[in-house]
């Protein structure tokens, strides 16, 4: 897809002229595995301190890593989902540094030969336009443990439950130019991973985190010096952090200063980034191949097998929804943004008016779920109910207006739409006798208005309203119109 946004809409104005932000992202996505990357300890949330720790994770003398097949498979799945090259031979390297949350004194990662090479992701902006982001690589690595600072004024507490958990680090090329693009990119990666089932995407639990490399430059100039912002773990913070950091850098440059390459921490409370003192030590990680692990060799047949098992991915699904159901790009985009939502739609749309179903799913159902703080995976409303509701509209049993009322009852758990219609007598009145009777009564009661209609035909609307009111909204609006026109001589 070609980028339809013009270049200058991406620029920000400084005191001395326009600037362009250049960003590359490193997303750390936790593999949805049961056990850790190199040990048999459990991965999870909410266990007591150091309960999910093996002596391998704690770096005891003589402990050795063994690689989790499932994690390798998820990295391959993710790579395939990012349309990236899968490297049949990769290798684990040690990244050496001292920190109390890193028990062995090195993180096992992949620097020289990652499992996944270059790929590309298509990202949609809010305005419906698309842009592409290059993927530099995806590699497997271990997470570190956690430091707790608030249990003692003079000491830090170390919990290694998280240490050794498998992460996929997805490194983008420096292809992003606005905070909105960066957010849209992370959202897209998250959606893809959730579709693939390789990461649950839970940002609140830290299962998907982004580090943003930000630099600024004059349009057309070479890349500037970048700063890496860590700890941006929500979409809102990503945008905030980038905006703050870009303006900070522009200010420095416009004042004649220069940017120091450094790691900065985003402080969500203050909405600022600040230099990370702890990471300011000389960056010399002394990467070298981990001698405890041999090269990882994958067979093409296995990769083909994984490829064959991939689900339909968001982009394919969006295209299919547009062609198969005749949906707009926007509606299709909204539906595919969550796999459960897309599935829900498809289940409800079977044999029904798909556009109507899409409207119900993207509007009414989505709004109710949002209000309840739930997503589609936790949707209490069976898709069959939406299907039935649309069916009742389609066959004229209820009007679109009454459908909203029916939906309320159904959402409240009063049963299927058909049952609700039955129970509350909401069936649309198509019996012309009953409608005629109501029309006659209203015309008889309002002779002046009836006379006026002859001059002002649009005044018929008032009569329609009155008839609908008299029939409790259940009269078929088309029939009401026809009968009124006949009786009023229009």
């Amino acid at each position: 897809m070609t980028d339809t946004t013009t270049a200058d809409t991406k620029l920000i104005q400084g005191r001395t002229g326009p600037w362009e932000i250049v960003m590359g992202l490193e997303i750390h996505a936790q593999v949805a595995s049961k056990a850790k990357l190199f040990s048999g300890a459990a991965v999870g949330f909410g266990a007591g301190p150091n309960e999910q720790v093996s002596l391998v994770d704690a770096g005891f003398p003589g402990m050795l890593p063994t690689l989790n097949r499932f994690c390798v498979e998820q990295a391959v799945r993710s790579g395939l989902g990012l349309r990236a090259k899968i490297n049949l031979k990769s290798q684990f390297d040690r990244k050496n540094y001292f920190y109390p949350d890193l028990p062995t004194g090195y993180q096992i990662s992949q620097l020289y030969h990652p499992i996944v090479g270059e790929g590309v992701v298509e990202v949609e902006r809010d305005d419906g336009t698309f842009f592409e982001v290059g993927i530099e690589r995806l590699h497997l690595e271990q997470d570190a443990g956690k430091l707790i600072h608030d249990l003692s004024p003079t000491e830090s507490y170390v919990d290694l439950n998280r240490a050794g958990t498998a992460l996929m680090e997805i490194v983008s090329k420096p292809d992003l130019r606005t905070p909105e693009e960066a957010v849209a990119y992370v959202k897209k990666i998250r959606t893809i991973l959730i579709y693939l089932g390789t990461c649950d995407g839970d940002m609140e639990k830290g299962n998907l985190r982004a580090d943003v490399n930000v630099s600024v430059r004059r349009p057309g100039e070479p890349f500037g010096t970048r700063c890496e912002i860590k700890n941006v773990n929500s979409f809102r913070f990503i945008a905030q952090a980038i905006n703050y950091e870009a303006r900070r850098q522009i200010e420095i440059l416009e004042d004649g200063g220069s940017i120091i390459q450094e790691t900065r921490l985003f402080d969500p409370g203050k909405g600022e980034t600040r230099s990370m003192r702890s990471k300011e030590e000389a960056h010399d990680y002394r990467y070298f191949p981990d001698p405890d692990l041999l090269p990882l060799e994958l067979e093409q047949a296995w990769i083909d097998e994984i490829k064959a098992s991939l689900p339909e991915l968001p982009d394919e699904k969006r295209r299919r929804f547009m062609s198969q159901y005749g949906l707009s790009q926007y509606d299709a985009g909204v539906l595919i943004s969550e796999q459960a939502k897309a599935d829900y739609f498809e289940e409800a749309a079977k044999g029904r008016d798909a556009k109507l179903v899409a409207n119900w799913v993207t509007n009414e159902v989505s709004a109710r779920l949002a209000a309840a703080g739930k997503d589609f995976a936790e949707n209490p409303l069976p898709a069959a109910h939406v299907a039935q509701l649309v069916e009742l509209i389609e066959n004229g049993t209820i009007s679109s207006k009454i459908a909203k009322e029916v939906f309320d009852h159904v959402w409240n758990g009063e049963g299927s739409p058909a049952e609700v219609v039955e129970k509350h007598g909401l069936k649309q009145v198509t019996d012309t006798g009953a409608i005629e009777k109501a029309v006659d009564e209203i015309i008889a009661a309002n002779p002046d208005k009836a006379a006026a209609v002859a001059e002002k035909p649009q005044a018929i609307g008032w009569f329609v309203g009155q008839v609908m009111k008299a029939t409790g909204g259940k009269a078929n609006p088309a029939a009401v119109n026809d009968i009124l026109k006949a009786k009023l001589g229009l």
């Binding site: 003398p61 050496n96 062995t104 002394r286």
Partner: protein
């Protein structure tokens, strides 16, 4: 039975099985020897006599029922590099003084499975970095052997100096050891014992304190080639907990012993003649060739052209791996922690300055240097390329020969304190042994003669990967021909 501690492992195991004596009896005999000798020899850093007697009684109970494994009731010494569940494991370092692992190394677990009894933990160079046992935080081990009339204390070699001295001094039937650049074979040569380093991947590294992961390999030090074959078989196993463990059968190598070497082609690498090698060592090597020729083997001169680069390559690769492997000793979760540190960085630096001895610090510094930005390619990657050249040297001769015969060491045991001035001189001890580590090949040192001072000298046999069988076959022939029976005169 006169002195049970003088038995070979094989004889002891047979005697135990025949109920000629009990495990408790032989264990007590060794405990007595250790108590008498250890204050002088310093071979054990931690005798575990109570545990030994418990294990011995349990072995006796099994033997009484006609049960028991291949090493049932045999008292062994364990190099303090192997983690032993509930028993302090220090790797010869102050860093791990008081460290009690809640787990057992696979190698020792295999020995206990086969019925062996643990007499205690044996002294070693700190983190296996050394060739004389002088880097141990527990003080040097003294070689039971003396040279001529001199009363000077000699080194038993290293890093498995405690293992070698304990076997030579009858402080155990046999001992576990480990070899990263020669740490089994060099001490064996210095003490008139047999030491085997198997093919890399035969013995699990799980639970063995790491020095240089791609080179470390466990093996036994024993009194005879047969004992070595017996014990190595128990130590080796395929271990899924070690990703570099080979998924192969462990053969019964005792089957290779006494088998004729007729028709075997034995390679003599011309590059193993080094400057300053004593004439006696040179003569012994020639004698070894003669013995094998007489036994029907064909002696073939070969070239391993990159031999001289093995040690320099090793002194890049091993420290580099060590600098990373030993980063876990940081005072946070186990081991020594400096008191009153002013900051986190101060805690790290002081802990490690206090916990590690000088040689370890030196190697960790070299290791960090060769991996650091700007030097990685020039040093580390180049060393790995040279390593391949060295491995290819061996690959290139295996078509022509079945095994290679070399001296084990460039000299006999030297006096304590003798080689401490210059690290490189000390490193040269491993010049003949280190190639097998770099290439992952099996090697054995067999005592074959004495120098003019009456000190033992060893010959080394190197074989193809996984072909320990031929190595044992040739070693057994050398042992038979050499008829080495000398024992150190007891002075302790």
């Amino acid at each position: 039975m006169s002195d049970l501690t003088k038995l070979t492992l094989k004889a002891a195991v047979d005697g135990l099985k025949a109920r000629d004596f009990s495990s408790e009896e032989i264990t007590r005999a060794f405990i007595a020897n250790i108590e008498a000798a250890n204050p002088r020899l310093n071979a054990y850093v931690l005798p575990t006599s109570d545990k030994a007697l418990d294990m011995a009684r349990a072995a006796d109970a099994r033997l009484a029922k006609g049960e028991g494994g291949p090493l049932e009731g045999a008292p062994l010494g364990i190099k303090d590099l192997f983690c032993t569940d509930g028993v302090q494991t220090t790797a010869g370092s102050n860093m791990l003084r008081g460290f009690v692992p809640p787990y057992e190394s696979t190698v020792t677990a295999n020995l206990w499975r086969d019925g062996a009894v643990m007499l205690g933990k044996l002294n070693m160079d700190e983190f296996a970095m050394g060739s004389s046992n002088e880097t141990s935080a527990f003080g040097p081990v003294i070689n039971p052997w003396k040279s001529g009339a001199s009363n000077a204390d000699l080194t038993p070699g290293g890093s498995s100096g405690g293992s070698a001295a304990a076997v030579a001094g009858d402080l155990c039937l046999a001992a576990t050891a480990s070899d990263t650049g020669g740490s089994i074979r060099q001490p064996a040569a210095f003490t008139g014992t047999v030491g085997v380093k198997p093919t890399y991947g035969r013995a699990s590294r799980f639970g063995m304190v790491a020095f240089a992961s791609s080179l470390d390999q466990a093996g036994p030090i024993t009194k005879t080639v047969e004992d070595a074959a017996l014990m190595l078989r128990s130590m080796c196993s395929f271990d899924p907990k070690d990703s570099t463990s080979l998924d192969v059968e462990t053969p019964d190598w005792t089957q290779s012993l006494g088998r004729s070497v007729k028709g075997l082609r034995i390679g003599i690498p011309k590059e193993y003649v080094v400057d300053g090698m004593p004439a006696e060592q040179m003569e012994l090597w020639e004698k070894g060739q003669a013995w094998l020729r007489e036994a029907g083997a064909e002696i073939v001169e070969i070239s391993l052209p990159h031999t001289k680069y093995a040690l320099p390559a090793y002194y890049i690769i091993a420290p580099a791996e060590a600098s990373s492997n030993l980063a876990r000793y940081d005072g946070m979760r186990f081991g020594h922690r400096a008191a009153d540190a002013k900051s986190l960085t101060d805690l790290y630096e002081t802990t490690r300055a206090e916990g590690f001895g000088k040689e370890v610090q030196r190697r960790l510094t070299i290791g960090a240097y060769v991996l650091s930005a700007g030097f990685y390619d020039a040093y580390y990657v180049r060393a790995l390329k040279v390593r391949r050249r060295i491995a290819e040297d061996f690959d290139n001769v295996w078509g022509k020969v079945d095994a290679i015969l070399t001296p084990s060491t460039p000299s006999a045991a030297f006096a304590i304190g003798n080689r401490q001035i210059d690290p490189v001189t000390m490193y040269l001890n491993d010049v003949f042994t280190v190639t097998a580590n770099l290439a992952g090949l099996p090697g054995i040192s067999v005592p074959a003669g004495l120098d003019k001072g009456g000190l033992p000298l060893g010959l080394q046999v190197i074989g193809k990967a996984l072909d320990e069988a031929t190595v044992f076959q040739v070693a057994s022939a050398l042992e038979d021909a050499a008829g080495f029976v000398a024992k150190p005169e007891k002075w302790w």
